[in-house]
């Protein structure tokens, strides 16, 4: 077998791999539908709100969940969508700078907590107990990592994590799977994980809240519907769903 034959086999197989790997859903703006680009940490709460919205308005809500930075860049590049919702100000700024957003609202906050597997095998009670355990947090480059860094510095914690995860759900995943003995995630993630984790509050963490932002996108096809979604977020019903899911209110 020559290199060429080997490579062609490999190419065919690689193509197959990538096909299996991608499951694209088009965010086509069909009539009577709303497309919301939202930070991954909003997944559960937005799906619940989406159900309410569909019942009330009789339209379909499509979500595209991902990292705030990714989504903001897609929006800045003209990705189809009606609402952009990010987990930090920096990424919303990317879309604002590109001039693709309308008025930005702050609708929720989140606080950092420690989570451990349900039985808390390392017996962690405070941030100090993280020393010499297998613990994880988000990478410095992503919003939850910047918050974690701030909280750790404020508490003069010098112990090092075993991994700097790419996003908060990956951090949570390492704890739920039992690979890590502790992780720093948002209160809403701890709430979403339910009995799969034990939550430990960090005194003083509320000094370093992270805020959630939402804005209409310029490309929206139905400004009224888009505004209805933003109104839902700040309505009493919407805020109730958010606090139930572990978020704080601005």
């Amino acid at each position: 077998m020559t290199l060429r034959q080997a490579l062609s086999t490999a190419c065919a197989l690689t193509l197959l791999t990538s096909l299996v790997g991608c499951g694209g859903d088009d965010a086509e703006g069909e009539e009577g539908s709303l497309t919301v680009l939202a930070a991954a940490s909003l997944t559960d709460v937005y799906e619940a709100l989406g159900q309410t919205f569909e019942d009330e308005q009789g339209v379909e809500v499509d979500f595209s969940f991902g990292s705030s930075t990714d989504l903001a860049e897609q929006a800045a590049d003209g990705a189809p969508g009606d609402v952009l919702s990010t987990a930090d100000e920096t990424s919303m700024q990317i879309a604002e700078d590109a001039g693709v957003t309308g008025e930005v609202v702050t609708f929720a906050t989140n606080v950092l907590v420690i989570v451990t597997p349900p039985d808390n095998p390392a017996g962690i009670e405070t941030l100090d107990d993280l020393a010499d355990t297998t613990w994880v947090r988000c990478a410095d480059e992503v919003p939850c990592g910047r918050v974690a860094l701030g909280v750790l510095e404020a508490n003069a914690i010098t112990s090092e994590p075993v991994s700097l995860e790419e996003d908060v759900r990956a951090t949570l995943d390492k704890v739920i799977s039992g690979e890590a003995e502790a992780g720093l995630v948002y209160a809403s993630d701890a709430a979403a994980a339910g009995d799969d984790v034990t939550r430990i509050d960090i005194p003083g963490a509320e000094e370093q809240l992270t805020s959630y932002f939402a804005a209409p996108l310029e490309g929206t096809e139905d400004a009224g519907l888009t505004q209805a979604w933003l109104d839902l977020l700040t309505s009493e019903a919407g805020q109730h769903v958010l606090t139930d899911a572990g978020f704080g209110l601005p």
Partner: protein, 267 residues
Amino acid sequence: MRDPLGRPPALLMVPAAGAVLLLVVPLVAMVAATDLPGLPAQLRSEPLREALWLSVLTSTVAVLFCLVLGLPLAWVLARLEFRGRTLLRALVTVPLVLPPVVAGVALRTAFGRTGVIGEPLLELTGFAFPFTTWGVVLAHVFVSLPFVVISIEGAFRSADPDYDAAAATLGASRWTSFRRVTVPLALPGIAAGMILGWARSLGEFGATITFNGNYPGVTQTMPNLIYVTRQSDQDAALALSLVMLVVSVAVLLALRDRWLGTPGART
């Protein structure tokens, strides 16, 4: 245009050109988008050197494991007749079609701290794969081994087994004929398989980050570094991608010239 076989048909040439464009344009566009004057500063950054070294190291160690384990398996699949061979071949190529994240989850359920093998291993030795460089190598071997096995098996199959038979009539044991006849005949295919495996390891991202996380100098390979950098600094991520592209192309070209010259068509 004196090709005795006639003119190359447009039905082949046009799609072929399309394929070249599809593969080359994104790479050229990426190079064009890179902030070249800022590149030297990126190259001197500690995270880049650590990640690049780790990537090259883990990919190289992984491909050596692939050779030690994959060459015998390829021989078994190519040269032995037994029931269930087709099934076995299908099984060992499954990681090829697994989305990398699924590969990471699979590795975790086997080798994680609470995994089928990982838990007894941790109790016996105090060692666990996740979050270690060995974990990265394990993930690389898992995703690359099928490439290596398939390539080498193909090479063994295209080498005429009559040579083995001839060696046997001259008194060679099966081990001797494997070593002196089968392997030398299949050498280009073996080298191609190893290079494919190495390249696959170098680009491995999903399984590594799912199974091992991401920590500079320990588990942060180039793809991991590029991924997390992209979250905050696009220009730096582009520069890192360019470095990775250059290293990959350089190594592939160097190895190709050295070991993979196809007869009569040296470039």
